[in-house]
Amino acid sequence: MASKLKQSNRAGWLMALPGAGLIGLFIIIPFVLAFAFSLTNQRLASPNPTEFIGLENYSELLGLAVFTLEPERDDAGNAVVEDGEIQYPRLRKFTRKNAEFPHLDGKREWFSWQSGENRTVVLASDVVFMKALMNTILFVIVVAPLQSAIALTLALLINQKLRGISLFRAIYFMPVVVSIVIVSILWKFIYSPGDGLLNNILSAFTFGAFEPHDWLGDTSTALGSIIAMSIWQGVGFHMVIWLSGLQTISPTLYEAAEIEGSKKWQTFRYVTWPGLRNTAVLILIVITMQAFALFAQIDVMTQGGPLDSTQVLVFQAVERGYGKQDISGGSTISVILFVIVLSISFVQRWLTRERK
């Protein structure tokens, strides 16, 4: 009996081996390596030996400081004003090897605001990383609710017995099947300045009143354009997940609600939405993770530009690790991203937990 059990165990392990091996090779080992590299100064190719440097990579990325600049004053003690603007000492004085302000050393201005005569400056060790972080968070905050809401709307529309409804399902799902790289290239054409498709359509609808716009070349529209295109591309996938959730709700519940005189939105509120709870949790987590992993669109369409307005974390990780050969820097970004996504998943799970 015992030997039989052992044998079947061995067979089981053998069968699990290919899958487990691949997971180990491509997920677990790289993850452990990334974590290890993030504590060193490893470079892609370097004559110098690798050294353990502790959390230095993290402090170089995450270092922040707030500093208040006081205006330059004349002898009377009034702020010096030139061309209507208050003059301040140059930031450099404080951030370049100034023994009085060691915590500002090497940091650069991220953003600032005026308060009275003083100017408050937020400094970051790595401004590009901070921009990437903020853009990524903005992307997630916009995409997660919008994409899931649109996907749910489509799923509700499509979850009906109508002639030809499966055609619509196919159409909405199509962008998901096409490679994101190809989609990105196509949308680059759509957004292209001058006579791109979007500009053409807009000027056609406004009878030529619309001035062609460089959607991806303008810092104020670049990220928005990428958000719109990403939602379009992913919405079909989430629609299908919603649809499967919708179909787990028993039709007799709808009939019971119908008999009680429930109106459409009441049925949604009392029957459909509670029945979609688990699906909603799944979709939110999946969308959030996918949104944090934003890369291909940026890589193909903007390369993080213009003026870092579309920098995002994964693009930065790749850019540093391979572009700048700074593997440890790239690894550090990956680990930070992992921690963020993990914590968000936990928070989402907690927020959407079943309340007793």
Binding site: A256, E258, Y270
Partner: protein
């Protein structure tokens, strides 16, 4: 409270006719049970009354009002489903109050009605539970409670007890019977359990293949079945059928016999027996009793089932036909033992021969 009248009701799904013209009168306060084999259209008929299925042809009246085109919620009906159809994420209280919540009933009135329903169903102590914490019988009680708070003119039940085990079914059956007496409402009840039908119904409607076979009180159907189907469907074990020849007949009776049945006189009142010399004789197993001498039937015991209060004997007649006899006492028979049976000639039924 209201009458329900079905006139020439028809239902087709595409080219498939499911209900082929049904006329039923249900009086105010009556308990009517639809019975019939699986797939005969019981549920379809009930759902048409409820307003969950379109009516293909005929008119449906509830309380002097033609309701063919009136939505389910305005027909004054409540329905209890086989699968309970209670909302899993709501407490018992919320489930019972669902219709009132939908209608935005003031809280005080709502609480009062919920308590009333809970009192009728003796489930005041369960109000704060969720459906997952209830037994099947309790869940069905919640569904009935929801129906009660609607204060409907007509209660509709679609096999409400078939998901319950035998003991619970008996309890709930009696409870529904009590409910009918205390509410004095019109009830239409679908089942394929003939015990439910016999015990609950004021009037039974036997359906087969989309047609009404017979309508009548349980005892009418038991003692005076119109045709072979009803005779075989009502009563357990089923009525015995034997092919016989008509030897002579006058206006109200006939003399019949066969290889295994000695000649005797039987009442004739059913249609289709005028132009024929062949007929089918029906005898209920309970009407047979063993005799030591004489008797119209003779055969050998092949199987006995002793149930304590009755003994069901399977008998092979001399011409090879099988016959069941149900004796109201505990008796022991040897396998193969010869047995002579007799019956009250008044209780024999003569049917037109089965047309295959």
């Amino acid at each position: 409270m209201a009458d329900v009248t079905l006139k020439g009701i028809k239902k087709s799904y595409g080219a498939v006719d499911v209900i082929k013209g049904v006329d039923i009168d249900i009086k105010d306060g009556e308990f009517v049970v639809f019975v019939g084999p699986s797939g005969c259209g019981k549920s379809t008929l009930l759902r048409m009354i409820a307003g969950l299925e379109d009516i293909t042809g005929g008119t449906l009246e509830i309380g002097d009002r033609v309701v063919n085109d009136i939505p389910a919620s305005e027909r004054g009906i409540a329905m209890v489903f086989q699968s309970y159809a209670i909302f899993p994420h709501m407490t018992v209280r919320e489930n019972i109050a669902f219709g009132l919540t939908i209608a935005k009933t003031p809280k005080a009135e709502k609480d009062e009605k919920v308590m009333e329903a809970a009192r009728i169903l003796q489930m005041e102590n369960l109000l704060e539970r969720r459906p997952s914490q209830l037994s099947g019988g309790q869940r069905q009680r919640v569904a009935i409670g929801r129906a009660i708070t609607r204060n409907p003119q007509v209660f509709l039940f679609d096999e409400p007890l078939s998901n319950l085990d035998a003991a619970l079914r008996l309890d709930m059956r009696m409870e529904i019977g009590r409910l009918h007496k205390s509410l004095d409402a019109t009830m239409v009840y679908v089942t394929h359990d003939q015990v439910e039908a016999m015990t609950l119904a004021d009037k039974i409607v036997v359906l087969k293949d989309g047609y009404v076979q017979q309508v009548g009180s349980p005892m009418d159907l038991y003692h005076k079945p119109d045709n072979l189907f009803v005779a075989g469907f009502i009563g357990a074990p089923s009525m015995n059928f034997l092919d016989v020849d008509i030897i002579s007949r006058d206006a109200n009776s006939a003399k019949v016999n066969s290889k295994s049945v000695a000649e005797f006189g039987v009442d004739v009142w059913r249609e289709g027996l005028d132009q024929t010399s062949k007929a089918t004789l029906g005898i209920r197993p309970q009407d047979l009793y063993p005799v030591s001498e004489g008797g119209l039937l003779k055969g050998n015991v092949t199987l006995t089932e002793r149930l304590g209060t009755e003994t069901v004997v399977d008998i092979r007649l001399s011409d090879g036909n099988r016959l069941l006899a149900s004796l109201g006492e505990d008796r022991i028979f040897e396998h193969g033992q010869e047995i002579r049976l007799d019956f009250d000639h008044k209780k024999a039924h003569l049917f037109a021969p089965a047309t295959q």
